[in-house]
């Protein structure tokens, strides 16, 4: 009897693409290709992928996206809710930097931009699927460098748009180095049209006392597959405030890999997930407290409708000697239908006594007492529900210090809630 799992069409296609490139690739790219060839597409028998059986969920075979001949209009690429934001834009269409649609000339003083294809960092040789696939196939690497001490007020908007007539895969790879005492706001957006895979790797390193605010709006096409990995190195007393709103893609997996490298750093990685239909949205976070006296917190709020499935995997590692660690995680999901599902997997690996770690997970429904109270004051059911759901989701947005940005995110979540079908 043949016990080998038959390779899926997507796997065979990936393998062919890998084979075509292996002969000429060098360094980290060669290593990544080799990893892909060896490991294939992750599946549910691998612990980190137990809820997101990518091999099964991938379905389509994606050929590498090509650069479009006719560039789309900027207005079509930017979400209307973001249209009035004063930002510096860096636009990728189908994984290719589009300098015409970007406004790199408005890059604030203190930020420099480079486009290159250097040999990737050593850590890219880790057998991590998203890292490998982006390292193997990304067209180029963008690096943003913030000079020490530079306080950059204007958000850098990273717009990623994919247009697919037939299934294509687009890849982006971005490296952000924030110098000592510097600060920056990054805003990533993901949208597109058609059946595609968007895979994205973002490496951020914060030097001592640096700070980054990070907002991410994943609103890829409902036929798309979205993969993302953010790898974060945190210097001494650095600050990371991140909020992700996930509302797009048929299947999404968004990972954050956060490593404390020196004492006194704080990292808040929050997210809201708004999913309906048969969407599958996975958020996976690994926080590695390798040094003492760092704080980390993740607040995840989900609203799941229809047959949507949400996943939160949160792993906190506290290494020997990392005393004074404060690590917290919470995941709260509201299910709007009997068929919606939330899976939560918290993992604590603590090798130390002097730590405070807490995690909590709730899965529930809209509170009927609250709903009745609102309705008894004249607020119709759908609006009352929207108020309660907005309040739920808003709980993850409190870390956004900038009111303008926070209001944009509130507007986006209100829009999703407003698109709920009447029952």
């Amino acid at each position: 009897m043949n016990v080998n799992v038959k390779k899926s069409a997507a796997e065979l296609s990936l393998e062919a693409q890998v084979d075509a490139m292996l002969a000429t690739a060098i360094g980290g790219q060669a290593q990544a290709l080799d990893n892909l060839k060896r490991l294939g597409i992750p599946h549910r028998r691998l612990e980190p992928w137990v809820y997101t059986d990518l091999r099964n969920l991938m379905g389509d075979t994606y050929r590498p996206a090509e650069q479009l001949e006719a560039a789309p209009k900027l207005a079509d690429l930017v979400d209307p809710a973001l249209a009035d934001l004063d930002t510096c834009r860096i636009v990728h269409v189908n994984g290719y930097l589009n300098e015409d649609l970007s406004n790199l000339d408005t890059l604030p003083t203190g930020v420099t931009f480079a486009r290159h294809s250097d040999a990737p960092k050593a850590s890219d040789t880790e057998p991590h699927y998203i890292a490998n696939v982006v390292t193997a196939f990304a067209n180029d690497i963008l690096t943003l460098t913030v000079a020490p001490g530079a306080k950059i007020a204007k958000p850098i908007l990273l717009i990623n748009y994919t247009i697919a007539d037939t299934p294509v895969a687009s890849y982006t790879r971005t490296i952000v180095n924030v110098g000592e005492g510097a600060s920056i706001t990054l805003f990533e957006t993901y949208r597109g049209q058609g059946i595609y895979q968007s895979a994205n790797l973002l490496d951020i390193s914060l030097a001592d006392k640096a700070a980054a605010t990070h907002i991410r709006h994943q609103n890829d096409d409902l036929a798309a597959l979205h993969l993302a990995l953010i790898r974060l190195d945190l210097g001494a007393q650095s600050n990371w405030h991140s909020f992700t709103l996930t509302e797009g893609a048929r299947v999404s997996r968004s990972e954050v890999d956060l490593r404390f490298e020196a004492e006194g750093a704080r990292a808040y990685t929050n997210a809201a997930k708004l999913l309906r239909g048969e969407q599958h949205g996975d958020m996976t976070i690994v926080v590695d407290h390798a040094v003492p006296n760092c704080d980390s917190e993740e607040v995840i709020k989900s609203v799941l409708e229809d047959k949507a499935r949400g996943i939160f995997q949160g792993k906190v590692i506290v290494r020997p000697g990392a005393h004074g660690t404060d690590g917290r995680q919470s995941s709260d999901a509201l299910l709007l239908s009997d068929l919606a599902e939330m899976d939560t997997k918290p993992e604590l690996e603590i090798y130390n006594d002097d730590v405070q770690c807490a995690h909590g997970a709730t899965v529930g429904e809209i509170d009927l007492d609250m709903l009745f109270y609102l309705r008894s004051r004249g607020i119709p059911e759908k609006q009352a529900e929207a108020l309660l759901l907005q309040a739920h989701v808003g709980g993850a947005m409190e870390i956004i210090a900038d009111d303008t940005l926070k209001n944009v995110m509130l507007e986006l979540s209100a829009r999703w809630l407003g698109e709920r079908r009447p029952t």
Binding site: L374, R375, R377, G378, I379, E381, H392
Partner: protein, 249 residues
């Protein structure tokens, strides 16, 4: 204004209201007293349309219109207001947002124009001042972190802003200190008008010194067991409910 006839209602398949009749004309204040568990809050929830409080028989007319078929928000727009015995806390929803949405929803439902932001803020400031509600309280989430008395004052504030036709107050006096009781009573009295009716559920005769009722009813075992003038409240204060416990046993 309010006509309740032969009202029967169940909660969790238990019969709680068993043929209740009550008629409150416009302009009047009726107090409802009665022992714990008699069904007073049940009556208030049935009027407001809470799920799980099932009417099995009888009718409730507001200005001649049957409200039992209306959704809770439709009843509110029609003029029904319930000040809850236990106001609900709603984390994450600012009181101002809530009040404004409530007022405008009702106005929309009645085909009236929405109030503008400045008009709304003026209205809130004025009513809040009357009820000695600190403006910072209105920025907080609905009832979250409010003291017991603050919650009750917030109920009366909502009533003052929404200007309902029928005000049902369920033990709005409990948990209030003496000064707050005055403030709340003044708030209620300010709302008394020829085209508004009040049903005031209370255990304490003291409230009725401030809000003088036209009628007092005793609700016991799911029915109005006795009705009288304001002196009935004094009598109950003295004798308790023993009489009703026996007669209905």
């Amino acid at each position: 204004m309010l006509e309740i006839k032969n009202l029967h209602a169940t909660v969790d398949e238990q019969k709680i209201l068993r043929g209740l009749d009550l008629s409150v004309p416009a302009g009047e204040v009726h107090a409802i007293m009665g022992p714990n568990g008699a069904g007073k809050s049940t009556l208030s929830y049935v009027l407001a349309g809470r799920a799980g409080y099932d009417v099995t028989e009888g009718s409730v007319l507001l200005d001649g219109e049957n409200i039992l078929d209306l959704e809770p928000d439709e009843r509110a727009a029609a003029g029904v207001f319930l000040a809850f015995q236990y106001p609900i806390e709603i984390p994450g929803v600012p009181t101002l947002t809530f009040l404004r949405q409530a007022l405008n929803s009702q106005r929309r439902a009645r085909g009236e124009d929405e109030v503008t932001t400045p008009d709304f803020m003026r209205l809130i400031r004025e009513k809040g001042n009357d009820l000695k509600i600190k403006p910072e309280m209105l920025k907080r989430a609905v009832n979250v972190g409010f003291s017991g008395g603050e919650k009750k004052r917030n109920e009366v504030l909502q009533m003052a802003v929404l200007q309902p036709k029928l005000c049902v107050l369920d033990e709005t006096d409990s948990g209030l200190d003496i000064d707050a009781l005055r403030v709340v009573a003044d708030g209620v009295n300010a709302l008394r008008s020829p085209d508004r009716a009040f049903v005031i559920i209370t255990h304490y005769q003291r409230l009725l010194d401030y809000i003088v009722p036209d009628k007092v009813h005793v609700l016991s075992k799911g029915q109005i067991a006795r009705s009288g003038g304001k002196e009935l409240a004094l009598e109950l204060e003295e004798k308790g409910y023993a009489e009703f416990a026996e007669s209905a046993a």
